[in-house]
């Protein structure tokens, strides 16, 4: 009401001034000149004052024109139809002028506001782009948004169901977060507050930050002037939040790129190291094996003592090469996972064939029987690793089977799994030692006289896992151990 009074006062004063000014010259101006003068006033008022003041000025001008200048003067009566018509047209033009000007003013204001919004968003984006840490982005974003929106900005994070405030531009003033709203906002990934369609009666906005996948975070925007809840367009607020999301996404992408790069670097360094380690191990052992086998070839058949010693040197040195191979393979598979594989479609029969020939080559007296089911499918594996794993299983069977009966190497398909089994006729598995046996460097009996680092099963297990399969150790019902490498028959993805 107070504002209406002010508008009335202002318009009365202005119309009075104009009327007084027109008094001495009204005869010279004529009726159209008078009308023009009052219209001029309405136009000026509607440009510089509010809409309602302009309207009142229009009405008062109409009344003043009628009372002071239209004959009979100093009455509200009109003596001719012509004059009445003139007055009506004047009123209509005055009203139209006021409202058109007001509309134009609103549009100009909106355009300016939109421009300001775009500029704010751009400025925010540019500021955020320079930052390299998530925390810095959040801090700067809060600061800028607090300034631009004249609001208090609070960031809250949900971790394992607990909501905590991580940033507050006015931390000294207490603020109670609506927990229910926060949870709803995070669960639905929707904004809350005026104009959002959710909880419109709130005197703040609560908007989820969607860029950080692992972190659940919402931003609270609490305008200091309650009026801003109506006048600030939601699209502007969303625009600012989008910029924050964008900056965060960019950071995440950059971080991932950096990680991938450093992983690749680490792998290549590691591969170079493994290769040189392998070379350094092998070179002296090659000399030892070669020299011993050469001496063995030169030693007379009847010199059994020397022949035994030389054979032992050859065998032990070869065993060391195998151990080195196992350590290297295990390291590579465990540190690099699937990327360590150089897989191809392999024939099971062929893999078994290689295992048999390598094992026979190594143990001349080996009794090995193969049972390969007919028409097995090709499997997508790293041949070298699978061969190595199977040789380890055969070696293990040999070490722990004192019975001297044949070791059975079998391959068959059961549903979507290929079972590659090595069966011995020894004592079988110690009770409850399965998991223990598979862990690196563990052995069935501590300090046993059997050679090897106990790496054999660990590498088998790792090879099985890296191919998406598993290693199964079970005692056969009729004695002995069955060690099975279970590999999936079809791996669709190659990555």
């Amino acid at each position: 009401m107070k504002q209406h009074g002010y508008a009335l006062l202002l318009s009365t004063f202005l119309v009075g001034v104009v009327t007084l000014a027109l008094m001495p010259i009204h005869a010279t101006l004529g009726s159209s000149g008078l009308a023009m003068s009052y219209l001029m006033l309405v136009l000026v008022v509607s440009i510089y004052a509010r809409y309602r003041t302009a309207l009142m000025t229009g009405v008062l001008s109409f009344l003043a024109l009628n009372f002071f200048f239209v004959a009979p003067r100093y009455t509200f009566q009109v003596d001719s139809v012509n004059a009445l018509l003139e007055l009506v047209v004047f009123l209509a033009v005055a009203m139209t002028t006021a409202s058109l000007t007001a509309k134009l003013k609103t549009q100009t204001f909106q355009a300016e506001q939109a421009k300001m919004h775009v500029q704010s968003a751009q400025a925010l984006a540019q500021e955020l782009l320079k930052l390299t840490h998530t925390d810095a982005v959040l801090a700067r974003a809060s600061g800028v948004m607090a300034r631009v929106l004249d609001a208090r900005i609070i960031l809250a994070q949900r971790k394992q169901g607990e909501v905590t405030v991580v940033m507050d531009t006015e931390a000294s003033t207490p603020f109670t977060i609506d927990l229910m709203a926060t949870h709803w906002c995070l669960d639905e990934q929707q904004a809350i507050g005026p104009d959002t369609g959710n909880w419109e009666s709130f005197d703040y906005w609560c908007i989820p930050l969607q860029a950080l996948e692992q972190v659940q975070m919402v931003i609270f925007i609490c305008p200091k002037q309650l009026q801003a809840l109506q006048t600030t367009p939601l699209s502007f607020i969303r625009g600012l939040v989008d910029q924050v999301n964008l900056a965060l996404e960019l950071l995440v992408a950059r971080e991932q790129e950096r990680l991938a790069l450093s992983l690749a670097e680490r792998e290549s360094v590691q591969n170079a190291l493994l290769a040189s380690l392998s070379h350094d191990f092998r070179t002296p052992l090659t000399a030892i094996v070669g020299a011993a086998s050469h001496l063995l070839a030169q030693t007379a058949e009847q010199d059994t003592n020397h022949r035994q010693l030389l054979t032992m040197i050859t065998e032990e040195a070869t065993q060391m090469v195998d151990d080195a191979d196992n350590i290297l393979a295990l390291t590579r598979v465990e540190t690099q996972g699937k990327s360590a594989l150089s897989a191809d479609w392999q024939s099971v029969e062929e893999l078994i064939g290689i295992v048999v020939s390598r094992c026979r080559h190594r143990h001349a007296q080996l009794k090995l029987v193969t049972q390969v089911a007919p028409s097995l499918p090709f499997i997508w594996v790293d041949a070298r690793l699978v061969i190595q794993a199977l040789i380890n299983l055969v070696d293990n069977a040999l070490k722990f089977d004192a019975s001297g009966s044949a070791i059975i190497l079998s391959a068959e398909q059961r549903a979507q799994w290929l079972w590659l089994s090595v069966r011995d006729h020894g004592e079988g598995l110690p009770q409850d030692k399965q998991a223990f046996l598979k862990s690196k460097f563990s052995r069935g009996q501590t300090e046993s006289a059997q050679p090897g680092f106990g790496l054999g099963l660990a590498i088998c297990d790792a090879v099985a896992h890296v191919h998406g399969g598993k290693l199964v150790l079970e005692n056969a019902t009729d004695g002995g151990l069955v060690a099975t490498l279970m590999l999936p028959v079809s791996i669709v993805t190659e990555a």
Partner: protein, 228 residues
């Protein structure tokens, strides 16, 4: 028969010592170098019957020597490498090396490979020969395959693969070479084609397919027909 001369290129002194000693006691004349550069210089003056080449040499990649030699000579080249260098082995064979040996290597294996390589160098010209291993006889002239005296029927692809292996009996043939010669050069990456046909061949020729005695697989490299 004159004693054949072998050049050993190996930088590790201990390995060189045993190789030289083993080759000498098998009746060969042996010279040795430790770098690619000295090997090239040696080759200017001498023409050994066989080159035994270690891949990890200090001054240059052993492969440069293979390329260099193959441009002007058919001299057999045996490559000595570590097992972890499968890719390198294949590229050496593709460049023209005749065979390879994986460290650690025993004397018996070393001498056997040397013998095979030298024999192939001698009989290079004679193509129409009969190759045999165990009970398997491959008559390359007549295109006949006999197992224990009984003819074996092979498909054209199977025979093509077998004859390539037979012509180089005892030597490894890379999978890519088999694919290029039997299927065509655009198929060199279709390794499973070869594996399927080898499976069929083994089913026809081997007593136990999973324990091959004739067609041996060199994982990651290729195949070889066993020596008698």
């Amino acid at each position: 028969m004159t004693r054949q001369r072998i050049l050993v290129v190996e930088d590790d002194q201990a390995i060189r010592l045993f190789i030289e000693s083993a080759l000498k006691s098998a009746g060969y004349l042996v010279d040795s170098c430790t770098t690619v550069a000295t090997a090239c210089a040696y080759m200017q003056a001498q023409r050994p019957a066989l080159l035994l080449l270690d891949l990890g040499l200090p001054d240059a990649d052993g492969r440069t020597l293979i390329t260099h030699l193959r441009s002007r000579s058919d001299m057999p080249i045996l490559v000595l490498s570590a097992r972890s260098q499968e890719g390198d082995i294949v590229s050496c064979l593709d460049l023209g090396a005749d065979d390879y040996l994986v460290k650690p290597v025993g004397v018996a294996e070393l001498l056997a490979r040397v013998r095979v390589a030298l024999r192939h160098a001698l009989v290079m010209a004679q193509r129409d020969q009969v190759v045999s291993v165990g009970e398997l006889v491959i008559d390359l002239h007549k295109g006949l395959v006999l197992l224990a005296g009984v003819p074996v029927h092979l498909t054209p692809k199977e025979y093509a693969l077998l004859s390539i292996l037979a012509q180089a009996q005892g030597q490894v043939i890379t999978q890519r070479k088999l694919l290029a010669q039997v299927w065509g050069s655009e198929f060199v990456d279709y390794g499973h084609y070869v594996r399927v046909q080898m499976g069929n061949l083994r089913a026809k020729l081997e007593r136990v397919a999973a324990e091959p005695r004739y067609i041996l697989t060199e994982p990651g490299v290729g195949y070889r027909l066993a020596e008698s």
